[in-house]
């Protein structure tokens, strides 16, 4: 009886740990995060250009909600990458989109639009880089 109980408790511990490990292994959905920094693509780029170290501290690894105008779209191996405007011809905010967003991006492909993107900031390399991005809102430009 005692042995059965110990085995049961061990099994529960292993099960719970495995569940928590598998949950912790998943990347959080940026759209479900309440803890994000909202910033325009122009401001985000300007902050990195002004002081890369300070901006990296402020934005890297954080979930950002970035809004900007899409200036270029690339498709690499079924994954879209969007370039957002910065008012600076040297660089953009480059957003690597999740493959899950492909359908939502179809209206963007035919015509440039203003977009709101949620994703993780990786830092600055000529451009501000973001990955794991998802689409928030798409706004028509008049």
């Amino acid at each position: 009886m005692k042995k059965t109980l110990i085995a049961f408790v061990l099994l529960v511990i292993v099960g719970v740990s495995a569940y928590y490990y598998s949950e912790a292994s998943k990347h959080p959905d940026p759209l479900k995060s309440d803890d994000y920094i909202a910033v325009s693509s122009v401001q985000l780029y300007a902050d990195f250009e002004k002081d890369e170290v300070a901006a990296t501290k402020k934005y890297a690894d954080k979930t950002l909600k970035v809004d900007g105008i899409v200036t270029k779209i690339e498709l690499n191996e079924e994954r879209y990458t969007l370039y957002l405007n910065t008012n600076n011809e040297m660089g953009n905010v480059i957003c690597e989109m999740n493959v899950s967003e492909n359908e939502k991006l179809l209206p963007i492909i035919s015509q440039p639009k203003q977009i709101e993107i949620y994703g993780t900031c990786n830092g600055f390399l000529m451009d501000v880089q973001m990955n794991k991005c998802k689409v928030g809102k798409i706004i028509d430009i008049k």
Partner: protein, 184 residues
């Protein structure tokens, strides 16, 4: 005097134009690595590699942000950035080198060419010379380069803690794919 200035301007324009015409770049190159052991397979991919290729001189370089490596498993990604790569301290990795047989590659003609490259690979402020081969494909004015190199984490000051030894391979397979566009 005026004529001299005009001709100088013209010359610099022509030079500038010809240099730019030979410069190809990408901001969305891919570098992925794989570590395979009996205990665990680890892979990660960076799809925002910045690379420049000069088809005249053969100069080739790339740079990437360590934090832009995307791991399917978040825990592995956190460990990589915090413990092994120490990405806050060493945010970038880079390569600067050249293709030695650049003259044998005809960038104006469709085809598949083998390029021999040598250069300095810097990760975590440790610089090592690497030499290997890449395959360059020229198709309708578009240039792409692929290569597979081996990188030993221990060479670049990656400290693997005792409990994880055996889960991370001594040598990583690194796959490079760069699809260039011409600088305008």
């Amino acid at each position: 005097m005026k004529l001299k200035i005009v001709s100088l301007l013209l010359l610099s324009f022509v030079l500038n134009f010809s240099i730019e015409a030979q410069t190809y770049f990408t901001k969305t190159g891919t570098i992925k690595f794989e570590s395979k052991t009996k205990l665990e397979d680890i892979k990660a991919e960076n799809r925002k590699v910045l690379s420049v290729l000069n088809t005249s001189t053969g100069a080739l370089s790339f740079t990437l942000l360590m934090k832009a490596f995307d791991f399917p498993n978040k825990i592995m990604q956190d460990h990589f950035n915090e413990s092994y790569a120490e990405s806050d301290l060493y945010p970038k990795a880079s390569f600067a080198g050249s293709i030695s047989n650049i003259k044998q590659i005809d960038f104006t003609k469709n085809g598949t060419y083998t390029a021999n490259f040598t250069g300095q690979l810097t990760i975590k402020n440790v610089t090592k010379t690497i030499s290997d081969q890449a395959t360059i494909v020229v198709k309708d004015g578009k240039i792409s380069a692929t290569s597979k190199i081996k990188v030993k984490p221990a060479d670049y000051n990656f400290k693997i803690p005792a409990p994880v030894v055996g889960k991370i391979a001594d040598e990583l397979d690194v796959f490079i794919q760069l699809n260039y566009e011409q600088k305008k």
